[in-house]
């Protein structure tokens, strides 16, 4: 079991309030991603759950039990750090075995569990090496191995993939998702990368300046963003926003159109513009179009379209997929 509940959690460092007031309900077995720009308090929130930071006020419940004042060692959670945080003076085997030793498990059982974890994570041939003799991906696997052997109530991941190169990141992303499907243990994953969030999460918590902007499934967030911040943060490339008279036509303070929701034409359309940069990815082409009076728009079109700098194009937003926001940025 591993349900996690936050009740009016507040965290301040001295005068600075990092997290004003957060309440969350994370269900057992769920994969929840905390996502937000840097400095939004997502790592702090994770560390509060881990017990590495003390809450200023509010409660943290684990399976209904109040653990607000329990030290990290007593919470039964496992954490994977961005820097891997392996013990440099111990072999891979001892690193993975460490939490079991701390739990005073009999040696025979420790060996069995370490071997099992090593096989699951393809670390079998590295067990006697020191961490410094491993590559980044292998190190992160050891860190995950160290987390899974103790069969925690929940896993906490603090940007575990940001130190890896792009290709490895995609691989590890899949491995972690698979691991979650295998273990069915609650996982909380912190990232600033909304692609990771969208692809891995059952539900996403979008954080901004210490507040929860929205908590929902990836598609919910994409289709029904609660406000302008979420609309802009979820989706890649970013949503285009238009203010002023053009928005007023839709009875809104501002409107948003996702790059993939434009109809593109060279002859006619709602908004006229000139292509600035065309980024060709093969499967898609991203056009950065300077429109007359509405600013820069990003448009996603299929990869076969060949536009170049200076081409004149017309953009027509799909009328059923225009997002409307009021003056406070809330979705209408």
């Amino acid at each position: 079991m591993g349900s996690i509940t936050l009740e009016h959690v507040n965290k301040s460092f001295g005068e600075v309030e990092i997290i004003p007031d957060i309440s969350l309900d994370i269900r057992d077995g769920e994969f929840v991603v905390f996502v937000g720009p840097s400095g939004c308090g997502k790592s702090t929130l994770l560390r509060l759950i881990a017990g590495l930071e003390d809450t200023t006020s509010g409660k943290i419940l684990l399976d209904g039990q109040d653990v607000t004042d329990a030290p990290p060692a007593r919470r039964g959670l496992a954490m994977v750090f961005q820097s891997y945080a392996l013990y440099p003076h111990m072999s891979v085997r001892d690193n993975i075995a460490f939490p079991l030793k701390m739990a005073k498990m009999p040696q025979a059982e420790i060996d069995k569990k370490v071997d099992y974890a090593a096989r699951t994570l393809n670390l079998g041939s590295y067990l006697d090496r020191r961490p410094r003799a491993l590559s980044g991906g292998q190190r992160q696997r050891v860190a995950i191995g160290r987390a899974i052997v103790r069969e925690p109530k929940a896993f906490l991941f603090d940007e575990p993939l940001s130190n890896l190169d792009a290709a490895l990141r995609v691989n590890m992303r899949l491995e972690i998702t698979e691991l979650h499907q295998q273990l069915k243990t609650t996982m909380i994953y912190v990232t600033h990368d909304q692609v990771e969030a969208m692809t891995m999460a059952d539900r996403i918590v979008v954080l901004n300046a210490g507040n929860v902007e929205q908590f929902g499934s990836p598609l919910d967030l994409y289709k029904k963003p609660a406000n302008r911040f979420v609309a802009g943060f979820i989706g890649s490339p970013k949503m285009n926003f238009v203010d002023g008279p053009e928005a007023a036509k839709h009875n809104a303070h501002s409107i948003g159109v996702r790059p993939e929701h434009f109809r593109l034409s060279t002859t006619e359309g709602a908004w006229k513009g000139t292509v600035g940069v065309a980024e060709q990815l093969g499967s898609d082409t991203f056009l950065h179009v300077q429109t007359d009076g509405l600013g820069l728009m990003t448009v996603r079109t299929d990869g076969d379209q060949t536009f170049k700098h200076g081409d004149v194009v017309y953009l027509t937003p799909d009328p059923t997929r225009i997002y409307k926001f009021d003056a406070a940025g809330k979705a209408i």
């Binding site: 590495l52 060692a73 013990y87 860190a143």
Partner: protein, 276 residues
């Protein structure tokens, strides 16, 4: 492009280094050769460099007059004892300053360091009276205690500097892995800080071994260490230079050897963290 250094510059610096090294070493060298001279030759003018009549009499005279081995034993007890006691206190102290600092941590560190700037004579009378009342005068445990206290700021500072280099993530990982504070320190922090702890230990043994002021003031016959042993040769019966040299040589030999064999560790430890 690598910087090129001309041969003459290299020779110049080599010579300069040798001159400085010999200058620094000359008192020890002089003590060494004098220890094997007769008393007459030791004060001869003009002085001789190498002994004309090589003699070991000084050493036997020194041992006969004053028990070298007892003093050496006392030195070992006090320097090793005060270092171990200091480490036991300093490791948790440095841990808390490095990993759980409060608003006052910097001030406490500065205050501790400032105690080293105070001349020892300034607290001589109160310490002497406390020692007298607690019956610690001329005892090994009393001397060990004072040696621990005077070197504690240095031990804490050194360990604090080493601990600061250890990524806090790793200690947090240990906490998440179920390690209570004691296990976090013994299983993770200390093994990672071994080079730093070793050089702190060495430096402190050397400092305690060479300490003279408190040793001479607070001991007489029973608990005297080698520094007290040397000083007992210096005054009352006139100047016996050869015997004094022999005594000094005997007193510094163990620590000189220790320093010699551990110099790599010492240099590494003292420059640890200077270049990341």
């Amino acid at each position: 492009m690598a910087r090129r250094v001309s041969t003459s510059t290299k020779i110049g610096f080599t010579v300069l280094a040798w001159v400085i090294a010999l200058l620094l070493f000359s008192p020890i060298l002089w003590t060494l050769v004098t220890a094997f001279k007769t008393e007459a030759e030791a004060i001869a003018s003009p002085p001789t460099f190498l002994p004309e009549t090589f003699t070991l009499d000084n050493f036997s005279a020194v041992q006969a007059r004053s028990d070298y081995f007892k003093h050496a034993f006392n030195s070992v007890i006090v320097s090793v004892g005060s270092t171990l006691l200091g480490l036991i206190i300093a490791i948790p102290a440095a841990w808390s300053m490095a990993f759980a600092p409060s608003k006052r941590t910097k001030d406490i560190l500065m205050w501790m360091l400032s105690t080293k700037m105070m001349p020892a004579v300034g607290v001589l009378i109160p310490i002497y009276l406390i020692f007298r009342d607690l019956r610690l005068l001329d005892t090994l445990h009393g001397l060990t205690l004072i040696m621990t206290l005077i070197n504690l700021p240095i031990i804490i500072w050194m360990l604090y500097t080493y601990f600061k280099e250890i990524p806090v993530d790793i200690l947090e990982a240990a906490r998440m892995d179920g390690a209570e504070l004691w296990n976090e320190i013994t299983h993770v922090l200390v093994p990672m800080a071994v080079p730093g702890i070793a050089s702190t230990l060495l430096l402190n043994v050397i400092l305690a071994w060479n300490e003279a002021f408190w040793t001479i003031t607070l001991t007489s016959g029973r608990a005297g260490t080698l520094t007290a042993f040397i000083s007992s040769f210096s005054s009352p019966q006139g100047l016996f230079l050869a015997k004094l040299s022999a005594a000094s040589l005997l007193a510094i030999a163990p620590i000189l050897l220790l320093g010699w064999f551990s110099q790599k560790q010492l240099v590494r430890g003292l420059t640890f963290g200077a270049v990341k």
